[in-house]
């Protein structure tokens, strides 16, 4: 097995280990309303670094990182308002549930990892 394939295989332990690692349950919902539960990285932090000045500013940035091979469909941003967007739902460490809209996706197809930047979403 080459190093690249090995790196992809290691994603199972890096991203999807919810017992001994930082893997966290995430529910993905596609625009058709079909949901699937996956394990991956989830981030939801309030401190940002201003890229222009390097100083810390208050903000909130949320993201998820998933193994592409575990997904039947790659999430994308849906700009068309007549369609439902891709949604990602997960709870914070205190169990408070949050629903986010997929705002940006950054797939790394070289090693099989996709990072999604999220936006707050009111699912009514």
């Amino acid at each position: 097995m080459g190093l690249r394939a090995l790196a992809e295989a290691d994603l199972e332990f890096i991203l999807e280990d919810s017992e001994g690692g930082f893997g966290y349950p995430i529910t993905l919902t596609n625009p058709d309303g079909d949901s699937v539960s996956v394990i991956g990285f989830s981030n939801d932090i309030a401190l940002l670094i201003d890229p222009e000045t390097g100083t810390a500013i208050s903000g909130r940035r949320a993201s998820i990182a998933l193994r592409i091979s575990s997904l039947s469909e790659l999430p994308v941003r849906v700009s068309d308002r007549v369609k439902k967007p891709w949604l990602a739902a997960f709870a914070d460490i205190n169990g408070n549930p949050y629903t986010f809209k997929i705002a940006e996706t950054h797939p790394d197809r070289a090693i099989g990892l996709v990072t999604c930047m999220l936006e707050l979403y009111d699912d009514c």
Binding site: P51, R60, V78, E104, L120, D122
Partner: protein, 226 residues
């Protein structure tokens, strides 16, 4: 010799800044009343007004409940800079202050499910909200009723120099959609400074008369010591 009086007055730029904020707040309330009378959704005319704040939209950044958030546009007025042309004042008492005030308007939008189909785009909502606030504020401040911002005699004129919208950065975009727009408002007004109270040295009175011959005579009365 020092200035005899305590300087405890507001300077012109402080008065004008606060007046701009008061006008926007007053007219926002007035417009809401007019909208209610006209059967319109008065919330579309509501704005929250602040002065000299660095992050007035902070409460939008970490809402616990999206539906409990007051999404009315936030307006922040702050004094940016001013200059004093030497040919429009005097060195003793009064100078013309050509000042720029930034009227920053912030709009927030949260993406949401649309029960009738599709979804509401938070980025578009935020931009629409910010631009709606800009529209209201420009119309309010440039209305004829506020030609001198209610400070005739102090304010010479006001003029909107520019409108700039803050485009969100692609990198580092947070989960909330907040768009800002700035109206740079130029206001020219007088600034006054403390004046020394003069001490009376002598009293001198002069009566100017014309005699029957047409000669102009001046009769002066004053005390003198020899």
């Amino acid at each position: 010799m020092t200035i005899a009086s305590l300087i405890n007055k507001q300077d012109g730029f402080e008065i004008v800044r606060d007046q701009i904020a008061a006008i926007i707040a007053l007219e926002s309330a007035s417009q809401q009343a007019l909208a209610h009378t006209a059967g319109e959704n008065k919330a579309l005319w509501k704005m929250r007004v602040f002065t000299e704040r660095s992050g007035p939209f902070e409460e939008w950044l970490n809402p616990e409940d999206l539906r409990g958030v007051d999404k009315s546009p936030i307006v922040n007025i702050w004094y940016d800079n001013g200059s004093f042309p030497m040919n429009k004042g005097n060195t003793v008492e009064r100078q013309l202050h050509e000042a720029t005030f930034n009227v920053d308007c912030y709009g927030v939008g949260f993406s949401a499910d649309d029960p009738s189909g599709g979804h509401v785009a938070g980025d578009q909502e935020a931009a629409i909200e910010a631009q709606r606030a800009v529209k209201l504020i420009r119309n309010i401040l440039m209305a004829s009723e506020y030609t001198y911002l209610g400070l005739r005699g102090t304010v010479w004129r006001r003029w909107p120099q520019s409108i700039t919208v803050f485009q969100p950065q692609i990198d580092g975009r947070p989960v909330q959609r907040v768009v800002g727009a700035r109206i740079s408002l130029r206001v020219d007004f007088n600034e006054f400074s403390p004046q020394a109270v003069p001490e009376t040295l002598e009293l001198l009175s002069v009566n100017v008369k014309r005699s029957e011959t047409g000669e102009v005579l001046a009769v002066a009365n004053f005390d003198y010591t020899t």
